[in-house]
Amino acid sequence: MATPQLNLTVRQPSSTAAIIDIQGEVTGAAETPLMNAYEEASKNGARTIILNFSNLEYMNSSGIGLLVTLLIRVNRQKQRMFSFGLSDHYQQIFQLTRLNEAIGIYPDEASALQAAG
């Protein structure tokens, strides 16, 4: 049996935005680490949570379900969610699921941070 591999790091490059660096696989097994990372990212009052998908290896439908759950929490806290580093394939998935309407997609960290203000 393959063990799911996921490493999450949280950075806060500005007072208003925090970045969660995702390295590995976003599947159903990512629920606890992802929610913990979100709480850490929010604890200093970040208004924008930015997901860095540059090192995403694999995301499945359960992972997309987790993003929706995360989005509900982000909306409830009146925060915003941005992303960058998505491959063409996952950008297409964001479009098909309309997640791109709820999560801002940026080409790189600098543009995501600039948009976060």
């Binding site: 049996m1 393959a2 063990t3 799911p4 696989e25 599947t27 159903g28 097994a29 694999y58 499945n60 439908s61 359960s62 997309i64 379900g65 987790l66 929706v68 759950t69 989005l71 509900i72 909306n75 491959s87 063409d88 394939h89 297409q92 998935i93 098909l96 699921t97 309309r98 997640l99 309407e101 709820a102």
Partner: protein, 560 residues
């Protein structure tokens, strides 16, 4: 609103309703005035809660009297005047704007006991002329704020009504071997009265309902909700009473009883059109009755059959009979049920989409779910890009498979010789879908372009996950079997689990808005993604096995 509704306005302004509003002025302290120790002493700057009904003579007096009024000099039979005197008010400066009394500035004695000088009066008069219009503006701004809030509340209510209505529509489509059911519902701008429903009887028969409540908006949604419940109650009651024996659950009786129950309660001028069909999936026999709904079309070959049966709409007159009709559905037949939002859609030239166009379309195009998609495309072409949808559009198809025993990879001969690229099994354990995905991708990497390879990987991984989780209940002793094969024009991946006796329900399309509003589970994207990323998907079930066949067309693989 307050300006036209005098009593409530006065009550608000003068505290008759016990709550003074912020526009009511209190006593204005002059620079040397302090409260009089002995007097019944309102503090400077506080609001006086004085009841000033609109018929009090004081109102007429103040409205006509510009400038400072000395209460001592007034001789009016007025409860409000007595109240003001009791509160030790000496001077009143009415705040009048365009003939309308907005409020009073009330002053008690000067502390020095000297009379107010003419300078004082001049200052007060000036103050009143400045203040009255300012208060009026503030009132108007406040009024506008309240109206905006009311409008937002109304929009919010409509949004909730729409969500409630959508949750009343079936969350899952029935899965019947040898049959395929598809449905599409698109509400008009706010809330509509269309509905459809499925009733599963224990003897295997399936009831299909499509209906339309006259009118739109919240009333239509409410009538729709109660009609749906009534139909369910009546039909299921009948099923229980019939005890699932040979006797017929008669669609005509269902409509007649529902009509009798709906008639006494329905609001005037509203009624419901409704078509009820009862399918025996084993024999293909379809019984139906119609309460004035648009006649469904059956596609058979390149022609169409109308499902006509006489009956009045529900809710008009009690005691109405409903004719029962019957049709034997043949393999390949496909029925389109629809609502008038489709046939009554207008193009920019004000022409209606109409029945002839629709029946012709049904006869000449592929049936089933593909028909729903292509009819919607045709509707879009007909109405043009800037169409504001006039009414709900509901489409539902019931299709009998062309050949019950061979649903997969039909037309093998036409598609040429198949070559097996890989064949293997994997235990049902979480994470193994990644191994399957990699191995299938490796097997097909030379025949599929890179862009489609990523899509294949996602589709294969999702189908494998479903097979392990739903089919084999994550039991590592039960394997998932994978077969990858290609013909000159097609690539086919079979994924087989051992959950054959349990059909996998075909979920409705996931809707991000519903999910974010908590009206749909955040999950449920798997089948949706598979369908997006394959050219065809077939499901074959026998008593033990359940096979999902994913197909990609190789000749147009370069298009995407």
């Amino acid at each position: 609103m307050e300006t036209t509704n005098k009593p409530s306005f006065w009550q608000r302004i003068f505290g008759g309703g016990k709550t003074p509003v912020e526009t009511e002025p209190g006593p204005v302290p002059t620079h040397d005035s302090v409260p009089i120790p002995d007097a019944p002493k309102p503090l400077p700057g506080t609001l006086l809660n004085i009841d000033l009904p609109p018929n009090d003579p004081l109102v007429a007096y103040f409205s006509s009297q510009p400038g400072v009024v000395e209460l001592e000099k007034l001789n009016l039979d007025s409860p409000a005047l007595r109240e003001l005197n009791a509160q030790a008010v000496k001077l009143v400066i009415p705040l009048v704007n365009q003939g309308e009394l907005l409020g009073l500035m009330n002053l008690s004695n000067r502390l020095s006991d000297q009379d107010y000088s003419s300078d004082d009066r001049g200052l007060l008069n000036n103050l009143a002329t400045q203040t009255a219009p300012a208060i009026r503006v503030a009132q108007l701004v406040r009024q506008q704020q309240l109206e905006t809030q009311a409008r937002e509340r109304l929009e919010q209510e409509l949004r909730i009504a729409r969500l409630v209505q959508q949750t009343l529509l079936p969350q899952e489509l029935p899965a019947l071997e040898g049959w395929h059911i598809a449905a599409h519902y698109r509400p008009a701008r706010s809330v509509g009265g269309d509905f459809y429903d499925f009733l599963q009887y224990s003897d295997g028969r399936l009831g299909l309902i499509i209906g339309d409540v006259t009118d739109k908006g919240v009333p239509a949604a409410l009538v729709m909700a109660s009609t749906r419940a009534t139909l369910r109650g009546v039909a299921i009651d009948y099923a229980a009473a019939q005890n699932t024996t040979e006797s017929v659950v008669d669609p005509g009786q269902v409509l007649a009883r529902a009509n009798d129950l709906i008639c006494p309660d329905i609001p005037p001028k509203m009624f419901i059109t409704c078509f009820y069909a009862l399918l025996d999936p084993k024999t293909g026999c379809l019984q139906y009755a119609n309460a004035g709904h648009d006649v469904p079309y059956v596609k058979r070959g390149n022609s169409f059959i109308e499902l006509r049966a006489r009956g009045m709409p529900l809710g008009l007159l009690p005691g109405m009979p409903y004719e029962i009709q019957e049709l034997q559905l043949e393999p390949g037949d496909s029925i389109l049920f629809y609502s008038d939002g489709l046939v009554e859609a207008h193009n920019p030239q004000k022409e209606m989409f109409g029945f002839p166009r629709l029946s012709e379309y049904v006869a000449t195009h592929a049936g089933g779910a593909a028909l729903i998609e292509s009819v919607l495309e045709d509707l879009e072409i007909f109405t043009g890009p800037n169409w504001e949808q006039e009414d709900d559009v509901t489409l539902m198809t019931l299709e009998r498979a062309a050949d019950d025993r061979r649903q997969t990879t039909d037309d093998d001969a036409m598609r040429g010789e198949w070559k097996i690229l890989d064949e293997f099994q994997t235990p049902s354990a979480e994470g193994n879908e990644r191994e399957v995905m990699k191995r299938v991708a490796e097997a097909v990497k030379d025949i599929l372009p890179a862009s489609r390879l990523e899509q294949l990987k996602t589709a294969v991984a999702e189908a494998t996950m479903n097979a392990m989780e739903h089919g084999n209940k994550n039991n590592p002793d039960i394997p998932v079997a994978v077969e990858v094969k290609a013909s000159p024009s097609l690539l086919s991946v079979h994924i087989t689990d051992e959950g054959g006796s349990v059909p996998i329900p075909d979920n409705p399309a996931p809707d991000l808005d519903l999910k974010l509003d908590g009206m749909q589970s955040p999950r449920g994207w798997g089948l949706f993604l598979i369908k997006q990323f394959v050219d065809e998907m077939n499901i074959v079930t026998d008593e033990k096995h359940h096979t999902v066949e994913l197909i990609w067309h190789l000749e147009d693989a370069n298009k995407t």
